[in-house]
């Protein structure tokens, strides 16, 4: 019989994708370990896109709505998903949350996944692009430890490069490893604190939206 175990999730992800496409909406699944800077990146990106395109955000967290509150201050539509202990978003949870998102009014949707480098790699959501944030304090060995995640993303953002003078992180070695695992990946070193590198990431994002 040979059946993919994640087939049910995959089918639901296809449904989400259809919904995005029929609304002409570009969806980005943003993943990282906890504290790598997903919310900070969204805030920086919103600042950079202000007045240009309408953006919405879905916040996935195990509990609390702290991140959603931070983002709603920017005046963009935010929907919080609490997974209640679950370590990742799945296509079904996202589908339910999409009911509360004004899809037709938006051009870009950020889906902030639960901070975790393992499970979100397996559960696709119907997104157009998969983006991973890896940050300097985490160390440059993460691709070896979480190969599936690094192998399945379209872009890797190296956040907190303002900390490079204080920490041991070899950007060249890291980039070589990631490129070796994943030929198509784009790598963007940046800092959400200083804003360095944000423009390059944003112009890539806009180019992907077509």
């Amino acid at each position: 019989m040979v059946k993919d175990i994640l087939d049910a999730n995959e089918r639901m992800a296809q449904r989400n994708r259809g919904l995005f496409d029929s609304n002409n909406l570009f969806a980005v699944n943003l993943m990282s370990s906890p504290g790598a800077g997903k919310t900070s990146l969204i805030l920086q990106t919103l600042k950079s896109l202000e007045g240009k395109i309408k953006v919405g955000v879905i916040e996935g967290d195990v509990s609390s709505s702290l991140d959603a509150e931070l983002i709603s201050k920017e005046g963009v539509p935010v929907v919080q998903i609490n997974t209640g202990g679950g370590c990742h978003l799945d296509a079904n949870m996202l589908s339910t949350a999409l009911d509360s998102v004004p899809l037709g009014e938006l051009k870009l949707l950020f889906i902030e996944n639960v901070g975790n480098l393992i499970c979100p790699a397996e559960f696709t959501l119907g997104e157009h692009r998969r983006v991973l944030i890896s940050s300097v304090p985490e160390g440059d060995d993460k691709p070896f430890k979480y190969p599936l995640m690094f192998n399945t993303v379209d872009a890797v953002l190296i956040n907190k490069i303002d900390l490079l003078p204080y920490l041991k992180f070899d950007i060249d070695a890291f980039s070589r490893t990631v490129k070796g695992m994943n030929q198509k990946v784009e790598i963007f070193p940046l800092s959400c604190t200083t804003g360095q590198g944000i423009e390059r990431w944003v112009s890539w994002l806009l180019s992907q939206m077509g």
Binding site: K3, C87, E122, P147, M181, Q183
Partner: protein, 113 residues
């Protein structure tokens, strides 16, 4: 937690297939798990034990076929097994590689009564 959702998805799939086949009981489930998925056999067994209780799959034997992560070097064309901390080609030392196996996560077959 990773294995909990995966085990639940696997069980749903198995029960669906068993029902289609008109089976009363699932005797054995043959799984294929790639090295890159990070799915731990012991965790799947643990979760399966309580998730399957009271279902036709209760007591089914779980059989795991592990698929090592393998890659093909795009420079020299050779196939090799990927080491834990070494993603370079052992033949030419290149790192221009393509994963050819290790992402498997499927139910190969089930045995029902």
């Amino acid at each position: 937690m990773h294995e909990l959702s995966i085990t639940q998805s696997m069980l749903n799939l198995v029960l669906e297939q068993a029902e289609k086949a008109g089976a009363k009981e699932v005797g054995k489930i043959n799984l294929v798990i790639g090295g890159m998925t990070g799915v731990v056999e012991e965790c799947v067994r643990f979760y399966f034990d309580f998730l399957s209780r009271g279902t036709p799959a209760d007591g089914a034997i779980l059989s795991f076929k592990a698929v090592p992560t393998r890659a093909k070097c795009r420079d020299c064309g050779k196939l090799f097994e990927v080491g834990e901390f070494d993603w370079t080609c052992p033949h030419c030392n290149g790192n221009n590689i393509e994963i050819v196996a290790g992402k498997e996560l499927f139910v190969e077959s089930i045995e029902v009564e």
